[in-house]
């Protein structure tokens, strides 16, 4: 059965219409959860609001387990699902730069677009900044190309990297998430409230 578009069960001509509908759901859920507020998002780093942890990990676990069940039931061909290629150095360097961007700007790309949707002017400025940052990367690409393409390891799965079965890894990630939710709630009761 799935994935539908790669196997042309749905005509790829519908791709953009589907993209718009998926984005509508994505944006609606992000905004409803409060991801249009940079002060709420930044709370995860100062331990006064755990919404990011709760929403993010619940979403990861839901989609991960859903994909495993879909695969088990034969509803999707997991080999046709895109797995991000691994380049350890560029992933770390990119992630570190994004981390500084997150704590300075208070948004990530998806949440900034979401905040633009409800009129946050700081998010509009953040989005403009992203445009400049991507432009800078693209112009400096000849200098960065070596690091960007260093050691391509292909679509590596985390359970292979850790030498365990997919089921065991999924179980451990769920257990870790639930533990993190409890720890988060415990910390929340201890720290000084921040009004925002």
């Amino acid at each position: 059965m799935g994935p539908l578009i790669p196997q042309e069960i749905i005509d790829p001509g519908w791709s953009n219409v589907i993209a718009l509908l998926i984005g509508l759901g994505f944006g609606f859920v992000l905004e409803s959860a409060g991801f249009s507020s940079s002060r709420k998002l930044a709370g995860i780093f100062y331990l006064y609001d755990f919404t990011v942890l709760r929403v993010f990990m619940t979403a990861v676990v839901t989609a991960m387990v859903g994909l495993m069940y879909f695969n088990y039931l034969g509803w999707i061909d997991y080999s046709l699902i895109y797995t991000n290629p691994l380049y350890i150095r560029s992933a770390i360097v990119g992630g570190v730069i994004m981390g500084f961007g997150f704590i300075l700007g208070g948004y990530c790309p998806g949440t900034s677009v979401c905040a633009v949707g409800i009129g946050k002017i700081d998010a509009m400025v953040f989005t403009g900044g992203m445009f400049l940052g991507i432009l800078a990367f693209s112009e400096a690409y000849p200098l960065l190309e070596h690091l960007y393409n260093q050691e391509p390891l292909g679509p590596v799965k985390i359970y292979d990297s850790l030498g365990m079965s997919p089921g065991l890894f999924a179980f451990l990630l769920i257990a870790l998430s639930v533990a993190a939710f409890f720890v988060g709630s415990y910390i929340l009761g201890k720290v000084k409230k921040v009004e925002y």
Binding site: V17, G95, M98, G101, Y107, C114, A115, A123, G133
Partner: protein, 175 residues
């Protein structure tokens, strides 16, 4: 199940939101074979703008040239339409919960000007990093972790680890 937080406004319970977000992500994989994304759409606007200013520069550059072709406009792309949907979806939710308002949100301890300067620098860094890391929190971390890719977990740990490290230096911006 409401989660009262910002003064006078209510948000959906975070676990319910996370579950719904997970379902949107799962549906995206089922339909398209790929996850969600955000920074890719901004990249498409950069490619389009550079191509419009100088086509020869864009087609000779090692980076832009990967995203331009003669028969397909760079904005005619799945992620661009998805991000337009995000704008509309957030607008609908904001309208429903009474949160539509033009404002600069910042801590009372800093000025709007400081907030906007920090937002601009944060955006520049995030944009740059999202290209180096082959995707942002949506495409690399969220979607990458859902398919259990090692790359997704490494990117997530690098982003959030650095966030905690940097938090101490810029604490005046937030608390």
């Amino acid at each position: 199940m409401n989660n009262k937080s910002e003064r006078g406004t209510t948000y959906l319970n975070p676990y319910v939101s996370g579950f719904l977000l997970g379902l949107v992500l799962l549906a995206t994989f089922y339909i398209t074979g790929r996850g969600l994304g955000a920074s890719g759409a901004i990249k498409s606007t950069v490619v389009t703008a550079v191509d419009a200013v100088s086509h020869s520069h864009a087609s000779s550059s090692g980076y832009y040239s990967q995203f331009i072709s003669d028969d397909e406009h760079p904005l005619n792309n799945f992620l661009v339409f998805e991000v337009l949907g995000v704008l509309a979806g957030a607008f609908l939710s904001g309208a429903l919960w009474g949160r539509l308002k033009f404002k600069v949100e910042h801590s009372p301890k800093i000025t709007s000007r400081t907030r906007l300067l920090a937002a601009l620098s944060g955006g520049v860094l995030f944009g740059f990093g999202s290209q180096m890391g082959r995707g942002c929190t949506s495409g690399a971390a969220l979607s990458g972790m859902a398919v259990m890719s090692t790359a997704g977990f490494i990117t997530m740990m690098a982003i959030f680890g650095t966030g905690y490290l940097g938090a101490w230096f810029v604490r005046k911006l937030w608390i």
